[in-house]
């Protein structure tokens, strides 16, 4: 086992320090993957085992004393290796102040030193440090770099903690600014291009005639067009040049070459008309200006449409509370900034308020609306001992709860991070578009030149004009953006839409595979059934009464964590039975438990296991049938080799399980149930839920192999389980669905996590995935068709039939609208309803 350890090294100042630190660490045995961050004054590395003392000693000897700030065992299993977990990011001060992560502070004296250092920075109105979570809160308008420098100057490390709100605000601000600039550029370009177009459409000549007046007039318009190209289209030229220097070509390249060529050709016609045949002395200034205008307009519309597409994240961010009501030890209450809440704090939530952070209820009771996280519309009752989640709303009653997870650790924050990441993931269906778009622009440039040469060599007069029009039109009509946007826009909207219903799709691949499934394997306990079994029947044999059987069984199950054990103990409690005294408890996974009772071996478990131990159970055959016929599970209790009792435990199937399975069937899916339960019981539950096939009496460890067998047969298999006990089977499946109740689901454990316990969530996830993949296909087909048809037409392929050439202006309009069309089509997914029939969920 290796351990990932991070050290804070306040004395590290520069690259030279980093080199010395690396030189000190590299010779150490068992030290790997040294990552040095100068800005964050930290070192992350892996060590064999977990003893970091040799590393600390080596650092101290090199003159860089360090403190271990974190150690994570077995980092290979960390779900997110690439998260921004180490050195933090820099941000600017927001209106609510700024949080700094502080390293190196160990005591109250450090706190005073740091607060003084921060307060001395110009612009700081107030600075306070929280030693518990090593953070400082600074109010005022100071520069973040100045604050960091001030903390470093007194011997500590500091970095700005990223705040999602300010990040989102910054993004919106930047996009609004970009939108305003795009619209300004649009009007600027169209302001020149439209009158020229009107002039041409209403019969005005676009030719340069002999004589200074004509040349001067067009020269003036040429200069105005140049101004448009520089001011409204300058960034296309800069982008094209920068990309070319890097041996890349992008959309800017096409626009710059297209509009630039049209302008240059026109200027040649104006300044040196003798170089061109008389019929070819045509100017295309209106085309240059109109294209720049249309493309800016298209980008602005696309920006707006994309803003709508990312509403899911905005909605999730909006769920976060900004303040919390702290309950002090003396009972006093005060509102504090959410950034100041730390784990262990006691907080109050009043009716109608948002729960600020994750926690455990200490007192009070209420109904909590968790629909914003789970999609479950029915409010959940909360009382002492229950967990509550940040972002959910207390509907009635007041609670006092103790904070257990704050900041980035809350379920809500994890959901936001997961959705953000998933929205950028790429399903395999988009790979072809990726491959095409990677080489698209240079190919289009070749096609454009080839088309121009064909027109120039074999076209009608004026050949030069036709060649120029073909070149410009091909370059402008080609739209790599539509291709590039087709997949990610649909994924962004689809993943966001799913999150609104409590469906967390973690990867693009899971999204695509979920739409292609053939088989769904459902775990029984907690998936089809409620997962809350109760005792329905008790039978005693060999002179044992029902109560004696239950009391002994309760004693055995007392140390077990199996759901059936809870049912037995609950039944014993209900009958006010005192559990017998047992010792030497041993649990056999998937079989049962055994212990010593008055020098005899007592066992409770399934029939197969007890038979292996030499216990005969024929005497209970009739009673067992009465249990299994009602979908109950028989637990056999034996004293040495003698059967002394059978307890029937039944786990109710979820009320909507049958309807959800019916929806799976309606989608053409084969539904299989897998369980460790006895066959007769499993079949009874399977019948009740409408399951196609039941796999019973399976040990937990063998579930994965059953999934593998079906995959080997060519089936595309989904496994639905709780994400904890079924983790291997979930990992083995083509798509794993972790199903939870409320916000307890292990959201990192499977490709798709369902925040509500209903099986409708599985069908909804498949429906959203199918709709998203369908949307991607529409976009891809549209984008490919647009380019495949548009480019040949722009090259003049229809000219022999129609005698018409495509205008570069029309090409500009089509190009700008193509990406808007893709984004708008993706946005249609926002109105998708996974369960339009409105089955009970």
């Amino acid at each position: 086992m290796s351990t990932l350890v991070r050290f804070s090294i306040p004395a590290m100042k520069c690259g030279g320090c980093a080199r010395k630190i690396r030189a000190a660490l590299e010779p150490l045995a068992g030290v790997h993957d040294i990552a040095i961050d100068i800005t964050g004054k930290s070192v992350a590395l892996r060590i064999d085992g977990n003893d970091s003392a040799p590393v600390m000693a080596a650092l101290a000897q090199a003159g860089y004393p360090a403190e271990s700030v974190s150690a994570d065992a077995d980092p290979e299993t960390e779900p997110d290796h690439c998260s921004i977990d180490g050195p933090p990011r820099q941000i600017e001060s927001g209106g609510d102040g700024m949080r700094l992560a502080i390293t190196g502070a160990t005591c109250a004296s450090c706190v005073r030193t740091i607060e003084t250092a921060l307060s001395s920075v110009p612009g700081v109105e107030q600075a306070s440090m929280n030693l518990a979570d090593h953070s400082a809160h600074v109010m005022g308008g100071a520069n973040p770099q100045d604050l960091i420098a001030a903390v470093e100057a007194v011997g500590y490390g500091a970095s700005v903690v990223e705040d999602e709100d300010s990040l989102e605000e910054e993004r919106e601000r930047a996009e609004q600014k970009l939108y305003r600039r795009l619209m300004r550029d649009t009007w600027l370009a169209l302001g020149l291009g439209a009158p020229l177009m009107a002039w041409m459409v209403f019969g005005g000549s676009m030719m340069v005639h002999a004589g200074a007046a004509s040349q001067l007039g067009w020269l003036l318009i040429g200069m105005l067009t140049l101004a448009v190209l520089v001011f409204a289209g300058g960034r296309f030229f800069v982008g094209a040049w920068k990309a070319a220097v890097h041996h890349n070509a992008n959309m800017d390249t096409l626009i710059a070459i297209g509009t630039g060529t049209a302008w240059l050709y026109s200027m040649v016609a104006v300044l040196a008309p003798s170089l061109l045949p008389e019929q070819a002395r045509h100017v295309y200034f209106e085309a240059s200006a109109m294209i720049i205008g249309f493309i800016n307009l298209g980008l602005a519309l696309e920006l707006r449409a994309r803003g709508r597409a990312s509403q899911a994240i905005k909605r999730l961010l909006g769920l976060r509370a900004t303040t919390a009501r702290r309950v002090a030890d003396d009972g006093g209450e005060a509102d504090i900034d959410i950034a100041q809440v730390t784990t262990g704090m006691r907080l109050r939530v009043r009716p109608g308020e948002k729960i600020a952070v994750d926690g455990v209820v200490e007192s009070g009771s209420t109904l909590v609306d968790e629909s914003m996280l789970t999609g479950e519309p029915v409010p959940v009752s909360k009382q002492a001992g229950d967990t509550v989640s940040a972002g959910t709303i207390s509907q009635q009653g007041s609670l006092i709860y103790r904070a257990t997870r704050v900041g980035k650790d809350t379920v809500l924050a994890q959901i936001i991070a997961l959705v953000k990441k998933a929205q950028g993931s790429r399903p395999p269906i988009g790979r072809l578009a990726d491959q095409v778009s990677a080489v698209f622009v240079p190919v289009v440039m070749l096609v454009a030149i080839a088309a121009a040469l064909v027109w120039f060599n074999v076209g009608p007069e004026p050949r030069a004009s036709y060649a120029m029009v073909a070149l410009t039109t091909v370059l402008i009509i080609a739209c790599p953006c539509a291709l590039g946007l087709a997949t990610p826009m649909s994924v962004m909207v689809g993943v966001g839409k799913a999150a609104e219903s409590g469906i967390l799709i973690r990867q693009g691949e899971a999204l695509q595979t979920a739409s292609e499934l053939t088989t769904i394997i459902l775990d029984k306990t907690g998936t089809i059934t409620e997962g809350k079994p109760s005792v329905t029947k008790v039978f005693g044999y060999a002179g044992w009464s029902e109560d004696e059987v239950l009391a002994l069984a309760a004693a055995l199950e007392n140390a077990s964590e199996h759901p059936l054990a809870f049912a037995v103990m609950e039944a014993a409690r209900a009958r006010s039975l005192t559990a017998a005294m047992v010792s030497d408890f041993v649990a056999e996974n998937g079989k049962g438990v055994q212990a010593r009772y008055r020098d005899q071996l007592v066992r409770i478990g399934n029939l197969r296991w007890l038979r292996e131990q030499g216990v005969e159970a024929d005497v209970a055959a009739t009673d067992v049938v009465s249990i299994t016929d009602q979908a109950g599970t028989p637990l056999y209790l034996a004293l040495d080799k003698a059967l002394i009792g059978v307890i029937g435990v039944r786990d109710q199937i979820k009320p909507d399980a049958h309807a959800a399975v019916a929806r799976m069937h309606a989608r053409g899916l084969k539904v299989v149930m897998i369980t460790g339960d006895v066959r007769s019981t499993a079949e009874a539950i399977g019948r009740e839920a409408g399951i196609d096939e039941v796999i019973a009496e399976v040990l937990p460890a063998d579930k994965a192999s059953h999934v593998r067998v079906r995959r080997d047969r060519g089936e595309l298999v989904a496994m639905v389980g709780d994400g904890i006990n079924d983790a291997p089977a979930l990992a083995e499946a083509d798509v794993g669905f972790a199903i939870g109740t409320g916000t307890d689901v292990a959201i990192e454990s499977a490709g798709i996590a369902l925040m509500r316990g209903s099986l409708h969530g599985v069908v909804d996830a498949i429906a959203v995935s199918s709709a998203t993949v369908r949307n991607i296909k529409q976009n891809l087909v549209g984008a490919f068709l647009y380019n495949v048809l548009g480019i040949p037409v722009a090259a003049g392929l229809l000219y022999p039939l129609t005698g018409m050439m495509f205008s570069p202006v029309i090409a500009g309009l089509a190009m700008s609208l193509s990406s808007v069309t893709v984004v708008s089509n993706a946005n249609r997914l926002r109105f998708f309803r996974a369960n339009p029939a409105g089955e009970v969920v």
């Binding site: 993957d33 993004r171 890349n248 590039g484």
Partner: protein, 125 residues
């Protein structure tokens, strides 16, 4: 007036040369001047349709920290995708964003924006 043969030849020569230049510049050219990492860290600027630097050399078997500054507010630049590492990272605007990559096997890892317009290569050797 008919176009002189010399003009035709000239135009064709320019066109064909341009086509050859495109093929060479965008596909046949082998990059030489990659930017190396310093102490496992590299700064990348996202602006004007390009990543700067767009060609990065990094030693194999060592983690790498990318410090990415996205200056372009265009949604085009919103995500940084690194092929082969399964990374699709949203980039904030005008803020330095740290992306810690695990120790990587030798090879070339393309990185690009969602629409493949911004492109770069991370060479691990």
């Amino acid at each position: 007036m008919t176009t002189l043969p010399v003009t035709t030849l000239l135009v064709n020569a320019v066109g064909l040369t341009a086509m050859m230049m495109i093929v060479w510049w965008f596909w046949l050219w082998k990059p030489r001047n990659a930017v190396g990492t310093k102490d496992g860290v590299i700064d990348i600027r996202v602006a004007n349709g390009t990543y700067t630097p767009a060609l990065i050399d990094s030693p194999a078997g060592q983690p790498l920290t990318l410090r990415v500054l996205r200056e372009d507010a265009s949604p085009c630049a919103e995500y940084l995708i690194i092929e082969g590492l399964g990374i699709s990272e949203p980039l904030p605007v005008n803020r330095l964003h740290m992306l810690m990559l695990p120790a990587m096997a030798a090879g070339e890892y393309r990185f690009h924006c969602q629409m493949n317009m911004y492109q770069g290569i991370l060479r691990v050797r």
